[in-house]
Structures are given as structure tokens and as C-alpha cells.
Symmetry: C2
């Protein structure tokens, strides 16, 4: 029976890089018997243009019934003026919330062939392999009250609320501890407990869970400001980092930029286990919709392709296909092909479609 896949390319470079995934899907279908039942829907600015909303309820329902969601990117600033509820970004925020996709796994891994693309010295980033586990359905992204109110004197106040409950913290910390056991067995929990009570609770809950169930894992705690510094000073000190929604947003982008290859990094967001026994899951590149280069055919499709590989591995239980894709990507890089974002002297510059084609060619050879 075919796996149900919902594909949401989004806006900006989303559709361009998603086309390169389609290439790979076709190849896997023809050559390795991958049967996918794919539905494509508009989200973000693309949905706003046609339907007037960043994501329709039908699409959320479809996502709920799919085996996995492959997401592109959303964020076209052209829609900045139409009101807060009509941001293209609402699409991804709603998907996370409605499907309870609470644990965003963001690997920051250095591709050896790309060590020169990092702004950091090779000796600082060599071998970098961090996994950031970011909470994605709580914190200040969703807390109430929120909004902008006008005061009697005509001035205004903007308000947002950071809220974290014991169970929200515990379930994401559990994902982090489990990840650590499959890696280097170390978790660093990051908050701002010297200033925020929500951070104080965060630290306590993580500490308690560790004591009860994960004493075999090494646990440390770090303030968010210090973590930002340590990521630059000596990123190799980290294995798994677990943190809230807002700190995770900033620190994971920072960590992926350390590798110099943001356009290379995939992510998975895991949700609750449904009644049918399947776990909600969404896969998306870490990079955004990059409206400045959209439509130019120069975007790097590898993060989107590698997100699809993660999807095959974690949601469809097809590790061999995932391995094949990852190996092909690595061979393509070794052969010297580079999109603009990872270009370095002596390498061959290619566009989005050439890069996608090259990956399929490598898969054929393997």
C-alpha cells in the first residue's frame, strides 16, 4: 500500500527546491519500488494569493491523515502589511500547533567537503555534529494574552506571553535524552533561569526527569546568552542541546550557520502518536524562503532533498533509500559541484536543477 505524503512547497524558493525532490521520488518509484500517494497543497504566500489565508483547514486535516508532511518554506515579506493573522508564517505555526509537532530536531553537522564555507576557523568547526532539540508548540510563540493594545493616551503596548507547563517541558526533554543515548550521551539544557521563572521551571523539570529516568546521560545546564557565546567559542563541546521555542529558533539558526552550509541542513519535527499508532511528523529544511533569490534558479536544493531522506528514514521506515540519497549528496559534493551559497574557489558552480540532476545521477551509480 502506498504511503500518504502531503507536500507543501510554500513560497519563496520552496517550490524550486521541492521540484528537485520530485525528481528523486520518480527515480525511487521507478527503481526501488517506492510507492507514494502524494497530495500537493498551497501554503504561505502561495495560499494567500489564491485562497486568502496562509493555510486552509482542509490542508491541516490532510496533514493529520498523512503518514508524513514534507514542507518547503514560507515567509514572503510582501505579505507583511496585511495583518498579523495573514503572515505566510502562520502556515507552519498552525501545522506545528494543530498536529502537536512539539519536538523540532535540528542537526548542525559539518559536511567535511564544505569546511571552507564556514566563517569559523577549520580547527574550531572540524567534526561539528550538534543536535538541537527545540520545543515548537509552546513558549512565547503561542502564549496568551498577546496582541497590541491602545492605551487611553493613544500610545500602544505590545504584549506576548511565555508559558511552559511541566508536561510540555518533560516530553521534549525526553526526546532529547533519547536522542543523546543514540549519540554521545550528553544533553545541555538551555534557558534563562536567572531572569525568567519559566526558565527556572524548565531547569527544574529537566533535572527531575534526568534524576528519575536518564541518569546514564550526562546533563548540563547553560544560560541562553552563554550558549550563544559557547557555540561560537567552542561548538564541539555540545552533543544534544534542548531548549524552548524562542531560544531554539535563534540558537539553532546560529548553530547551522557555524557549519557554513545552511542550505544543506534538514530538520524533522515530531509530534504526538495518533490513534492509528502513527506519529505525526513534518520535515523541512532549516533555511527560510529566501525571497531575495526566489525564481532565479540558484537556490540550494540539498536541504530539501535531505529533509526528504529524513522523512524516508523516520516516518516511512525506508532507511536504505535514505542512505542512498545521503550517500549521493555526499558524492556530489565530493565531485566539486556547488550552488552559490556554498561556492568556494576551484569548485564548479551549478544551479538548483543541475544540483538535483546530479544527485539522481549519483543514485543511479550507487
Amino acid at each position: 500500500e502506498a504511503h500518504k505524503l502531503l507536500v507543501l512547497a510554500g513560497d519563496g524558493i520552496g517550490p524550486e527546491v521541492m521540484r528537485e525532490v520530485a525528481r528523486i521520488v520518480h527515480w525511487l518509484d521507478a527503481n526501488r519500488g517506492l510507492k507514494l500517494d502524494i497530495t500537493e497543497e498551497l501554503v504561505g504566500a502561495a495560499s494567500l494569493a489564491v485562497h486568502g489565508v496562509p493555510i486552509r483547514d482542509e490542508v491541516i486535516d490532510l496533514a493529520r491523515k498523512s503518514d508524513a508532511v514534507l514542507f518547503g518554506s514560507v515567509g514572503d515579506p510582501a505579505w507583511g502589511h496585511v495583518g498579523f493573522d495573514k503572515r505566510p508564517e502562520v502556515a507552519i505555526l498552525k501545522l506545528r500547533k494543530e498536529l502537536e509537532l512539539f519536538a523540532n530536531l535540528r542537526p548542525a553537522q559539518l559536511f567535511d567537503a564544505l569546511i571552507d564555507a564556514s566563517a569559523l576557523k577549520p580547527e574550531v568547526v572540524r567534526g561539528l555534529d550538534i543536535m538541537i532539540v527545540r520545543e515548537t508548540v509552546g513558549g512565547i510563540y503561542f502564549g496568551e494574552p498577546r496582541g497590541i493594545e491602545t492605551l487611553p493616551d493613544g500610545s500602544r503596548r505590545g504584549i506576548n506571553t511565555e508559558v511552559y507547563t511541566t508536561s510540555e517541558i518533560e516530553r521534549v526533554a525526553r526526546v532529547a535524552f533519547e536522542m543523546a543515548r543514540q549519540r554521545s550521551n550528553r544533553v545541555c539544557s538551555v534557558e534563562k533561569c536567572n531572569v525568567m521563572e519559566s526558565g527556572l521551571l524548565w531547569k527544574e523539570v529537566v533535572t527531575d526527569l534526568h534524576k528519575r529516568e536518564y541518569q546514564d546521560v550526562e546533563l548540563s545546564h547553560m544560560l541562553a546568552d552563554n550558549c550563544a557565546m559557547q557555540l561560537v567559542r567552542n561548538p564541539n563541546q555540545f552533543d544534544v542541546i534542548v531548549t524552548g521555542n524562542l531560544f531554539g529558533d535563534i540558537l539553532s539558526d546560529l548553530a547551522s550557520m557555524l557549519t557554513g552550509s545552511l542550505g544543506m541542513l534538514p530538520s524533522a519535527t515530531l509530534g504526538i502518536v495518533r490513534e492509528d499508532g502513527k506519529r505525526n511528523a513534518l520535515y523541512e529544511p532549516i533555511h527560510g524562503s529566501a525571497p531575495d533569490i526566489a525564481g532565479k534558479g540558484i537556490a540550494n536544493p540539498l536541504a530539501q532533498i535531505l529533509s526528504f531522506a529524513m522523512l524516508l528514514r523516520y516516518s516511512l521506515n525506508r532507511a536504505e533509500d535514505a542512505d542512498l540519497i545521503e550517500k549521493a549528496v555526499s558524492n556530489v559534493l565530493a565531485s566539486g559541484l556547488r550552488t552559490a551559497d556554498i561556492m568556494s574557489p576551484g569548485m564548479a558552480r551549478v544551479g538548483t536543477d543541475m544540483m538535483g540532476q546530479a544527485v539522481v545521477r549519483e543514485m543511479e551509480k550507487l
Copy 2:
């Protein structure tokens, strides 16, 4: 008449590095007629140990009546267990709030002699000179409601509130625009307006003020996650960055770590103008209390010394003395002396007091 100075060394390495400032004060008194009326008080863990509170109300009053406050650092985690109101950090938070010290100016400047100490490639950080203007009396640091509440089922919820008003945003943006005019005339305003209404208001207010009064300054806007990435990718794109309390905490620490010389960087926090026509102001190093190296005599005193230079320049109108100190520091570095934090091969390693003595010796020669 003598200038009234309140000296608050704090805990951790605070007292050690402050001793080196005392050396310089004596020299300026004896040689350049600097007359200071200095009061020293305990804050942070040092005050907790003696008075049971992180800062006494009398000390806040003294600060209000001083021409300037020279602050060391606070944050000894040994006091982590005694409750949220007894954190050593409350000392600095209360001072900022009570004196309405709303604009924290944090330069991230590369000292050419220290380019090797950066984790970033020399070509990425060469010439780095960013000024971060961080709001320090609003946002999630102080918003109500806040706290940890226990729910009927025994679980708990941690809550903090981010609040920004039009006038809070406007006054700190004004400081940023004024700074930019004295520098490269560019301001980048940073928030998370795609997710937070407080960020949306932030962006609107900065845009309005710019349109009304600062059209000669180049203004851009950036999301906080992107800013963290851009600071690593190409930090030299920035001149002045203006942002809220929490983002400023993280981004300014990140920016200073780019220079590889956190132990070198001073900061000034400017407040409202008082009835006596003087402006409340506090000067402190960007580094924290570093409890792990406290008492070992190896801390770098230069950030504290340079904070005192800023104080002389901005609060006491003694630019010549400030120049003298800054020139002396630069000569000491050029001569090859290094504390552990900035040590590199071929340089001479010295401790806290040797470094302080060396600065005074250079001042004598100048």
C-alpha cells in the same frame, strides 16, 4: 569639586578586576588631578553573604545620587537555591530598573592585536566594530504577570510576559539613531515580528521615528534568528544594532564573542536625565562574574578598566583621561602581554595584577 562615584565590585571575579581600576584611579589622582569621591558597596553574592539581600535600598539611593556607577559583575550560582528574589543577578536588574537605565551600549570591537583569539577567520572579523544598543528596563525581564503556579492536578506552569510600550521603544531607538550619526550612520532594528506582536509594534515604532526625525540614517530591519546567523556569516555588515532586552542579551554576547576578546569589552548603560540635569549612568564589563576562575588571580581586568575609561568620557567629561587609558591598554597588548583568556602562541602570559600594573606603567610613559 570631586565627582561622586559609586563602585560596586559584586561577586566572582568582580572584586579582583576592580582592584586594578583602583590602581588607575590613584595614578590619575596623583598625576592628572582627578578628584573622585568614591563609595564602595557590596552587591550580588557579596551583599547576600553579609546583608541577606542582593542589593540594599540604601545602595540604590546612593546610586541615584552619584555622578556614575562603576559596576563589576554578579551571578555566583552558589546562591541558585535560595529563591528567585535572592539571585545575585537581582542587583544589576534592580539598578537598571530603579535608575531607569534603559539603553545599554555594547560595543563589539576587534582589537587588531587580538585577531588570532577569534574563533572566526581573520578575513571575516578584521575591522569589526559593531555597537549594540540593547533596551534594558523593559521586555520579558520585567513584564507582569510572571511566576510559577501550581495547577489543580499538581503540575506547574512557568509564566513570563514580554511588554513594550511605544515610548519605551522610541527612547531606545533614539539613542541608536544618535549613535549611528556618530558612526557609520546605519541602524539595524532587530525583533521577531513574524511571531510576536511586541516585535511588530517595535518595528512600527522604530520605522515611524525614523521617518519623522532620522531619515538621514540608513535603517534596516532583521528577524532575531536571522541576525544571529548574519553575525556569524558576515558581521561587518552591521554598524548599530538596536533591539529589546532578551534578544539584546543573546545577540550582544554573541557579537562580543566574535571578537575573541570578551574579557576586553566594556559597556555603558544610560538612563534618564535627572532633576539635577545629570544623566543616570552605569558602566560594567560585558563579561560575567566567571565564578570558575574567581580568586585565582588570572581574570582579565581590561574590560573593567575600559569601562572606567568610558565612565570618564561619558559621565565625567574627561575624554583626555579616557584616551590615555585606552591608548595605554592598546600599547600593553601591542607589547605582547596577555591574560589567559586572550593568550596566543609567542605572547607573554600574565595575571590580573601584572596586567593592571602594566597599564599604569604605559600611562606613565604616555
